[in-house]
C-alpha cells in the first residue's frame, strides 16, 4: 500500500489540511475508514416514522436506538422517538422475548400508537431471535397481551435489519415492504397510485404531493414523514405527532392502479414494497430513478400523465420552462467543470444524470451501498459518458480519488466535509445526513423545482470560487 503526501490546499483561503496523517491511495483495504453509509435499523426507523401513529421499536441493545435517534434528530431538528427492548446480558443468553413483550406493553400504554414498527439489530439477529414468532404470541387472541392486560395491542410489523447485511437504504425499503406485506389487502382496483419515494427530504415529499395533485391523481406516499419530521412549534408537544401515511392508505395499496418506486437500488435479497404488491395483488410496479434533472423528471411526469390521463398542469409546465431557461443562462458556469458525487445510490444516480445535462462531468460516482447496479443504471440513463463508479466505498477511497482527480465540486452529505476541507474543494450538501447546516429538511432535490434549487446552489458555488480567486474583486459575475 503506497502512501502519498497530503496534498496542499487547492484554495489558499480554505482551512485545509487539519490532518497530520498522510492520505492514502485508493486501495481497497480490509477495514472501512470513515464509512459512507449508515446501518439498516436507521433506515427502518426513518421509514416507520412516515406511517401515521407509528412508533419505531428496535429489538436489541438500547444503544442502537439512542445512536440512531441522535443521528436522525441532528439531521431533521425534530423529536424522534425510537423505543428499544433494551436487551442486556441476561436476555442475550436466555432470549429477549420478555423484554420485547414488556417493551410493547409500555409503548402501547404510554404512546397509544396504531402501529409499532419493529426492526431487529445485529445483537438479536446474531442470537437468532424469532421475532415473528414472538409477535404471534403477543397478538394471540387467548394468550396474548390483550387477554393478559385488557389493553389494546397496536399493529405490530417487523423487518429484519441486521447492520451487517445491508445499508440504511436497505433497512428503509425492508421496513416499507414489511408494512405493506402485513397490511395491504386485496379488493376492487382503485384509481390511486402508490408512490414509494425512498429516502428524500421532507420538502421533497411535500413537493411530490403537489405534483401528483397537479395531475389530479389520487395517491399515497408510502411512507410520508413530511409532517412528523418537519413540524411546527405550537407551544405544545404531541407525544405522537399526527401525520404520515394512514393505515387505510396502506390497506388500500393492494388495490391501487399502479405503484411507482423512485430509486429502489437495494442490496440483493432486500425486497421492495412495490414488488410485494405486484406479486401478492398484481399491482403494476414501475421502478424509475429519482426525478432529478429534466430528463428524469420528464420520465416521471410522463408516467403520471399516462396514469391520470391528464396533461401536465400549467404551473408545472412553467416550472419546467423556467428550469430550461435557467440552464441556458447558467450552464456557461458549469461547462467542463468536474464533480465527485457520493452518497445513497438512488440520489447519486439522479444527481449525476442531472449534472450531465448542464455540462458538469462526474469524475467519480461513489456510494457506500452495494446493490451492484449503480454503474449499469448510470450507463443506461447517460449513454456514452463512461462514469467511473465505486460502490461499497468509504471516505478513505473517496478522498484518495478526490486528491488525484481534483474535481471542482464535491456533492454529497455532511460526512464529506473533512475531505472538502482538507483538499479545499467546495461541498454542495445534499441528502442525509446534513448536520453542519440548518435546513436539511427544507432542501429540495426532486422535480423541476428541486432541480432548480440544486442548479442554483451548484452554479453559485462555482461562481463564488471564481469570484474569490479573482484578484480584481468583481461584484459583477
Amino acid at each position: 500500500m503506497s502512501i502519498i503526501e497530503a496534498p496542499k490546499a487547492h484554495n489558499p483561503k480554505a482551512l485545509a489540511d487539519q490532518s497530520k496523517v498522510p492520505l492514502t491511495t485508493a486501495t481497497k483495504s480490509t477495514s472501512t475508514t470513515n464509512a459512507c453509509r449508515m446501518c439498516m435499523p436507521l433506515g427502518a426507523c426513518l421509514a416507520y416514522v412516515g406511517f401515521d401513529a407509528t412508533v419505531p421499536f428496535l429489538h436489541g441493545s438500547q444503544g442502537c436506538a439512542t445512536y440512531i435517534r441522535r443521528y436522525l434528530i441532528s439531521h431533521f431538528a425534530e423529536p424522534m422517538d425510537i423505543a428499544s427492548s433494551s436487551v442486556g446480558e441476561a436476555a442475550t443468553v436466555f432470549g429477549g422475548e420478555a423484554n420485547l413483550r414488556t417493551g410493547v406493553t409500555n409503548v402501547a400504554r404510554v404512546y397509544k400508537p396504531e402501529m409499532i414498527g419493529m426492526a431487529s439489530t445485529c445483537l438479536t439477529e446474531t442470537i437468532g431471535e424469532d421475532v415473528p414468532g414472538m409477535i404471534a404470541r403477543i397478538t394471540h387472541p387467548e394468550t396474548g397481551l390483550a387477554a393478559e392486560t385488557g389493553q389494546r395491542v397496536p399493529n405490530l410489523v417487523f423487518a429484519s435489519t441486521p447492520s451487517y447485511a445491508g445499508t440504511h437504504a436497505d433497512g428503509y425499503h425492508a421496513a416499507v415492504a414489511a408494512v405493506v406485506k402485513a397490511h395491504a389487502a386485496d379488493g376492487a382496483e382503485t384509481d390511486s397510485v402508490n408512490i414509494f419515494p425512498g429516502i428524500i427530504s421532507t420538502a421533497d415529499l411535500r413537493h411530490l404531493h403537489e405534483i401528483l395533485d397537479g395531475y389530479q391523481l389520487p395517491h399515497a406516499l408510502l411512507p410520508d414523514y413530511s409532517v412528523r419530521l418537519d413540524g411546527a412549534t405550537m407551544a405544545r408537544y404531541e407525544k405522537l405527532p399526527a401525520g404520515g401515511t394512514s393505515h387505510a392508505e396502506v390497506v388500500a395499496s393492494g388495490r391501487a392502479l399502479a405503484s411507482i418506486t423512485l430509486g429502489g437500488l437495494v442490496t440483493t435479497g432486500v425486497e421492495l414494497a412495490g414488488d410485494v404488491l405486484a406479486s401478492d395483488f398484481g399491482v403494476e410496479h414501475l421502478r424509475m430513478p429519482l426525478p432529478i434533472g429534466i430528463r428524469l423528471t420528464d420520465t416521471f411526469t410522463d408516467r403520471l400523465s399516462e396514469l391520470s390521463g391528464q396533461p401536465m398542469p400549467a404551473w408545472l409546465d412553467a416550472e419546467r420552462g423556467r428550469l430550461v431557461d435557467a440552464y441556458i443562462d447558467g450552464h456557461k458556469y458549469a461547462a467542463d467543470r468536474t464533480a465527485i458525487v457520493y452518497g445513497d445510490e438512488d440520489l447519486v444516480l439522479g444527481i449525476v444524470s442531472f449534472l450531465s445535462e448542464i455540462g458538469i462531468k462526474t469524475v467519480l460516482a461513489a456510494t457506500g451501498g452495494h446493490s451492484g447496479r449503480l454503474a449499469a443504471e448510470l450507463a443506461a440513463v447517460n449513454p456514452g459518458r463512461n462514469i467511473a463508479v465505486i460502490d461499497d466505498s468509504d471516505f478513505e477511497e473517496i478522498e484518495a480519488a478526490a486528491s488525484e482527480l481534483r474535481p471542482d465540486l464535491l456533492i454529497g452529505h455532511s460526512k464529506g466535509y473533512a475531505t472538502s476541507r482538507r483538499l479545499g474543494i467546495p461541498l454542495v450538501r445534499v441528502g442525509l445526513p446534513i448536520h453542519d447546516r440548518v435546513g436539511a429538511q427544507r432542501l429540495h432535490h426532486l422535480g423541476y423545482r428541486g432541480t432548480q434549487e440544486l442548479f442554483d446552489r451548484i452554479i453559485n458555488t462555482l461562481i463564488q470560487v471564481r469570484q474569490d480567486e479573482s484578484e480584481v474583486g468583481y461584484s459583477y459575475m
Binding site: 472501512t32 446501518c39 440512531i68 442486556g88 446480558e89 441476561a90 405544545r236 408537544y237
Partner: protein, 569 residues
C-alpha cells in the same frame, strides 16, 4: 502535548497581600446549598405521584424508586444504575458508547478500530465534539472512524482474521503509537477473542495493541463502558512510561480525570492551572495523547471532574501508585475558585496558595461585571436538567452563579453515590448487570508505589476541612423539595415541564426538540449546542451570555400568534 512552562509572573504586591492563614481556615468540605425552590412551586409529593400515573402498575412501582423529593439534610435513597424498562424511551446509550465514544475516543494518537458492523463506528465518529490541540509533529486520528465493517460472512465464520488484517493494514499505513480495538454486540456472541488478536498483533507489530470487551448489551448503560475503558487503560497504558526528569521539577503535578474537552473546556482548565503554577500531566480524556496517559503515574494528585466515568481510574491509581484523588468542579465560577483552593490546600504550599488567590481575584474581576449584568435578567428563573453522570450536578453551580434555582435534576447513567455521595458506597447492592463488569484487584506496585501523603498528613487535611477521595454527590447541593429523577423518560420530562414551566431545560439532542416544541429553550449539555467552552472562568462568562440569550430570545414570544392570544382560553 502539555509541556511544563514557568508559571507566569503575578504582581508581587497582590501576592504579598494574600492572607494565607485566613484562606487555610476556610471550610472547603461543606457542600454548597442549592438555591431555594421558588415560592409557589407545586407540592412535590403529589407531583411525584402524578409523574408515574400513566405507567402500568409494575412500571409505576419501578419508576417510583427512581424519583425522589430531595432533602439535603436527610437524603432519601434513590435507585440508580439499574436496567431501563424496555419500551420506555430512554436517554441512555450502550456500553460501547461509554468505552469508545466517551473515554477512549478523545485520545488523539491511538488508532481506534471498531470491530463490528458499520453503524457502531459511524455513530461514534466525532459525534461528541471532543477538541484537541495537536502538535504539528504528532498524529491525530480524531476525525477518523475505522471499522472492520463485519458482514454476514464474518458473523457466520468469525471475524478474527479480518480484524488481524485490519490491524496490520492500519499499522502499515499509519504507524501509530498504539492501536485499540472495540467490540460491538455481535463480537462477544460469535466468540471472537479481540484480546487474543490484540496480543498476537502486539507481538507481531511491536506497538501497544489492546482490546476492549465493550459489547453494547453489557451493563445497563454507557456506565459499564466507562468502567471497562478505565480497566483497559489502566492495565495497558497507565504507568508504562516515565515522565522525563526535566518535566519533574514542579511538585504540583496533577492529572485531570473525567474531562473530555467538549467545546474546549479542557483548554480553559489548562489555562487556569498553568496560571496558578500547577503542572498538568494528563487529562483523561480530552486534548490528550497516548504518552501523556502512559506517564500519568508520575502525578502527585488526581483531580476528578466527572466522577461517574473515571472514579475507577483514580481508585486504581491510588492503590497501585499512591496518588490520592480529590473531587473538583470546574463548572461555575464559584465552584472553580473553590476547586482551586482545594488543590492549594492539598499541596499546602504558601506560595501556591497565594498564587491561586491572586488568579481567582483577577479572573473574578473580569467575570463579575458580566455576571452582575446577566443576573438582572435571569435571577429567580428556574432550571431543570437531566443529563450525563455528573453534568446535571456540575451545571447547577453555573446556574446558581446567575441566580437561577434548579427545581429538578437527574442523571442518565449515574450510580447512587453520584446522587447521595460516597458515604452510601458500602450499601449499594450489586446486581447481575453490574457484577459482570470486571473489577480489577490492584496491589501496590513493588517499584513505583509511593504514597504522596502519609496517613497522618491525610488525616490532618481531613481535619482541616478537605475531604480526600470523597464525592458528596448531587443531592446535598440541591434545595429541599426539589425533585430528583434518575434515567428520566420522555413522558416524565414532558409532565415536569408542564408543571414547572422552567426558563430553560438542560438535556441532550434526543430531548432538545421535544422541549423546544413546548416553547421552552433547551441547552444541550452533551455537545453544548456546538458552543463552549463553559468550564472555568472564561467558560462561565460564555455560559452566562448564552443562557441570557436563550431565555430572553425574541423568538419564544412569536410562537403564539396575536389572533390566538386574543381568544379566551
Amino acid at each position: 502535548m502539555k509541556t511544563p512552562e514557568a508559571a507566569p509572573e503575578l504582581p508581587a504586591k497582590a501576592l504579598a497581600a494574600v492572607d494565607v492563614e485566613a484562606i487555610s481556615a476556610l471550610d472547603l468540605s461543606r457542600p454548597d446549598a442549592g438555591l431555594a425552590m421558588p415560592s409557589g412551586s407545586p407540592d412535590p409529593d403529589g407531583l411525584v405521584r402524578d409523574l408515574v400515573s400513566f405507567y402500568p402498575p409494575r412500571v409505576q412501582r419501578k419508576r417510583s424508586r427512581h424519583i425522589k423529593v430531595n432533602d439535603p439534610h436527610e437524603i432519601p435513597k434513590i435507585e440508580a444504575n439499574v436496567r431501563t424498562a424496555p419500551g420506555i424511551i430512554t436517554q441512555r446509550g450502550c456500553c460501547y458508547a461509554g468505552c469508545k465514544g466517551v473515554v477512549l475516543g478523545p485520545i488523539t494518537d491511538v488508532l481506534q478500530i471498531v470491530h463490528g458492523p458499520v453503524g457502531c463506528s459511524y455513530y461514534a465518529w466525532m459525534t461528541r465534539r471532543n477538541q484537541a490541540d495537536v502538535p504539528d509533529d504528532a498524529q491525530n486520528f480524531l476525525n477518523y472512524a475505522f471499522t472492520t465493517d463485519m458482514t454476514e460472512n464474518e458473523i457466520i465464520f468469525g471475524g478474527e482474521k479480518k480484524l488481524a488484517q485490519a490491524i496490520r493494514e492500519a499499522y502499515e499505513i499509519f504507524h501509530p503509537k498504539a492501536i485499540a480495538v472495540f467490540s460491538t454486540c455481535p463480537v462477544g456472541l460469535i466468540g471472537d477473542d479481540v484480546h487474543a488478536v490484540a496480543r498476537e498483533m502486539k507481538a507481531e507489530l511491536g506497538i501497544n495493541i489492546f482490546g476492549f470487551s465493550c459489547e453494547g448489551y453489557k451493563g445497563v448503560s454507557q456506565s459499564a463502558g466507562h468502567h471497562i475503558a478505565n480497566n483497559g487503560l489502566f492495565a495497558n497504558v497507565v504507568g508504562t512510561e516515565e515522565l522525563p526528569a526535566s518535566m519533574k521539577t514542579n511538585p504540583f503535578r496533577v492529572n485531570m480525570l473525567g474531562e473530555y474537552n467538549i467545546g474546549g473546556d479542557a483548554f480553559e482548565i489548562e489555562r487556569i492551572l498553568a496560571r496558578c503554577g500547577i503542572q498538568l500531566i494528563s487529562t483523561f480524556s480530552g486534548n490528550v495523547q497516548y504518552s501523556e496517559i502512559a506517564r500519568s503515574a508520575d502525578a502527585n494528585l488526581n483531580l476528578i471532574q466527572c466522577h461517574r466515568s473515571i472514579n475507577y481510574m483514580a481508585e486504581m491509581m491510588e492503590s497501585k501508585f499512591g496518588i490520592p484523588w480529590l473531587k473538583v468542579n470546574f463548572i461555575g465560577a464559584d465552584s472553580t475558585a473553590k476547586s482551586l483552593r482545594k488543590i492549594g490546600r492539598y499541596f499546602g504550599d504558601e506560595d501556591l496558595i497565594a498564587r491561586i488567590e491572586v488568579v481567582i481575584a483577577q479572573e473574578m474581576g473580569e467575570l463579575e461585571p458580566v455576571r452582575t449584568d446577566v443576573r438582572t435578567r435571569t435571577n429567580g428563573r428556574s432550571v431543570m436538567m437531566y443529563v450525563g453522570g455528573s453534568r446535571a450536578h456540575h451545571y447547577q453551580a453555573l446556574f446558581s452563579d446567575i441566580g437561577m434555582p434548579t427545581v429538578s435534576a437527574g442523571y442518565e447513567f449515574a450510580h447512587r453515590d453520584d446522587y447521595e455521595g460516597s458515604r452510601v458506597l458500602d450499601s449499594i447492592t450489586i446486581d447481575a448487570d453490574s457484577r459482570n463488569i470486571e473489577e480489577l484487584t490492584i496491589t501496590p506496585d513493588p517499584e513505583r508505589f509511593a504514597p504522596r501523603k502519609t496517613e497522618e498528613e491525610l488525616a490532618a487535611l481531613e481535619a482541616g476541612g478537605l475531604k480526600m477521595h470523597n464525592y458528596d454527590g448531587m443531592m446535598p447541593e440541591m434545595a429541599k423539595g426539589s425533585i430528583v429523577v434518575d434515567d428520566i423518560s420522555h413522558a416524565e420530562l414532558e409532565h415536569l415541564i408542564k408543571v414547572y414551566k422552567p426558563a430553560v431545560v438542560c438535556s441532550g439532542i434526543k430531548d432538545k426538540y421535544v422541549i423546544e416544541k413546548m416553547g421552552v429553550p433547551c441547552k444541550q449539555l452533551h455537545n453544548y449546542d456546538y458552543g463552549g467552552p463553559y468550564a472555568g472562568f472564561k467558560g462561565a462568562i460564555n455560559f452566562y451570555i448564552e443562557i441570557d440569550r436563550m431565555v430572553n430570545a425574541e423568538v419564544w414570544r412569536l410562537i403564539t400568534p396575536p389572533w390566538a392570544a386574543k381568544k379566551p382560553a
